[in-house]
């Protein structure tokens, strides 16, 4: 089972490649606000969730596709880690 650091790294790599092409990787920190900061819109949120479900074998419920669960790499890692149990 991947640890939180592994999840966080994978999430950052995915976000940099998909939604922040050409950006300095250091600009994306553990606490960068993704949804409230406007990096993720509704389509990119679904794309991210599809990636998380595929990569880590977890399932998201409708209400979990929101800032409460996905607003930063740290929050995302926490959400996935909790789902992995």
């Amino acid at each position: 089972m991947p640890d939180k650091s592994t999840i966080r790294t994978a999430v950052k790599e995915f976000i940099l490649e998909k939604f922040l092409p050409g950006e300095d990787p250091d600009s994306l920190t553990d606490d960068t606000p993704l949804i409230s900061g406007g990096i993720l819109d509704s389509i990119s949120t679904v794309t991210l969730v599809a990636f998380l479900e595929d990569r880590f074998g977890v399932q998201f419920q409708a209400h979990e596709m929101s800032a409460d669960y996905l607003d930063s790499p740290e929050t995302i890692a926490n959400t996935v880690e909790e789902k992995l149990g």
Binding site: P21, S42, I43, V49, A50, Q61, A62, H63, S66, D68
Partner: protein
């Protein structure tokens, strides 16, 4: 990958086509002229199971998988020449019944699904507002906590089935700060709820037998248990239901395109001009050939998308591609069929002009085609 229908799919498809031709198509021209929603025909559709195609049998439905549902709706669009009735059933099933089936509590499913699946209740999806259309999540309607439930205020518009609906699937802002990302929730609102009433009814260019209007919420107090899904689920539920709607309404359009093709072929084989059947002229036969090529291409995309409903997050991309391709193919098929019919196509008696009018809404409802091209581009990382 198997491109053949199963025997069940084929038999049910043929049964729906026969039903549509015999029971639903007669009188369609007059109902269109008078904008008449015929409740008796709606009830017949319910007896046939059309409003509950995808609903599990334990809740009174047929229990079809998504692809079989699409194939059945394609047959419905082929056999039933009343485009508004087809649209009414699709809006009820895809944007209202299926979200309840997928996200409803056991109590909500037991209370509503059997009546919805049998057509005993009519449902309306209330999302669009006067100032938010394809940018749906900028809605102004609020449902704020009050007295142990939610107090709703706002106006929804262009609500298909609204004037005849018994149950509304309402999208409203429950947390303005979160907005589209966890701030929108869904509620089931029954007709007769104090503060909930139908507003203005609209006259349309096409799909005229599907009534459409405003829905007004004025200090309507909803019990907490009327919420569909968890608080903040609205965006995800809406996107899911729209994937179903975009793919499966397009499936019904495949049937309409097929009917237009048959109509064009029949006419081209009997109508003569300068001593020859008009089908002998390439100006006509190439239109028909192109219609066939477009239909078969669109069918492949629809079936692929339908087979991925419920098992792929990125079916939203498929749904947008389907929406654009099929709606534009339908309009072109209707225009070409009208052109092949010449002046007769312009006359109401041949029913082609009505199908053309019905087809025009396809590039507008469920998100305009411009928005869907934006969605496709954004899935590809551009735009």
């Amino acid at each position: 990958m198997d491109f053949d229908y199963t025997s069940l799919q084929r038999d049910f498809r043929e049964e729906i086509i026969r039903f549509g031709k015999k029971e639903l198509s007669p009188g369609a021209r007059e109902r269109d002229r008078t904008q008449h929603f015929d409740r008796a025909l709606w009830d017949k559709c319910g007896e046939m199971g059309l409003q509950g195609l995808a609903v599990p049998e334990e809740y009174g439905g047929i229990g079809l998988d998504p692809l079989s549902t699409a194939i059945a709706l394609e047959a419905f669009g082929y056999g039933c020449e009343d485009g508004g009735l087809v649209f009414s059933v699709c809006a009820h099933l895809l944007a209202c019944t299926i979200p309840i089936m997928k996200y409803g509590s056991d109590e909500q499913k037991a209370k509503y699904l059997p009546a919805l699946a049998r057509g005993e209740m009519i449902a309306v999806n209330t999302m669009t507002e006067p100032e938010s259309g394809s940018d749906a999540f900028t809605m102004n309607t609020t449902a704020l906590p009050d007295a142990g439930g939610y107090r709703v205020n706002g106006v929804k518009t262009f609500s298909s089935n609204g004037p005849v609906a018994d149950l509304a699937v309402l999208y409203a802002v429950t947390d303005p700060e979160k907005g589209a990302h966890g701030g929108i929730s869904v509620f089931l609102v029954e007709k007769g709820t104090p503060g909930f009433s139908p507003g203005q009814k609209y006259e349309k260019m096409g799909l005229r037998t599907c009534p459409i209007g405003e829905m007004i919420f004025d200090e309507a107090l909803l019990p907490a248990e009327s919420m569909l899904g968890e608080p903040g689920s609205g965006t995800a539920i809406f996107n899911d239901s729209m994937a179903w709607e975009r793919v499966c309404i397009a499936a019904s359009h495949l049937g309409t395109i097929n009917r237009l093709l048959d109509q064009a072929v029949t006419y081209a084989r009997v109508r003569k001009s300068s001593g020859k059947k008009i089908g002998a002229y390439q100006a006509v036969s190439h239109k028909i050939a192109d219609m066939k090529i477009a239909l078969e291409s669109a069918r492949l995309l629809v079936y692929k998308a339908a087979s991925r409903l419920d098992r792929a997050r990125d079916v939203a991309l498929d749904a947008s591609m389907v929406k654009v391709l099929v709606s534009e193919t339908l309009i072109k098929a209707a225009m070409d069929t009208l052109q092949i019919h010449g002046g007769y196509g312009f006359m109401a008696e041949y029913d082609v002009e009505r199908t053309l009018r019905d087809s025009m809404g396809g590039t507008l409802y469920s998100g305009t085609n411009e928005v869907h091209r934006n969605i496709v581009a954004r899935w590809l990382g551009v735009g």
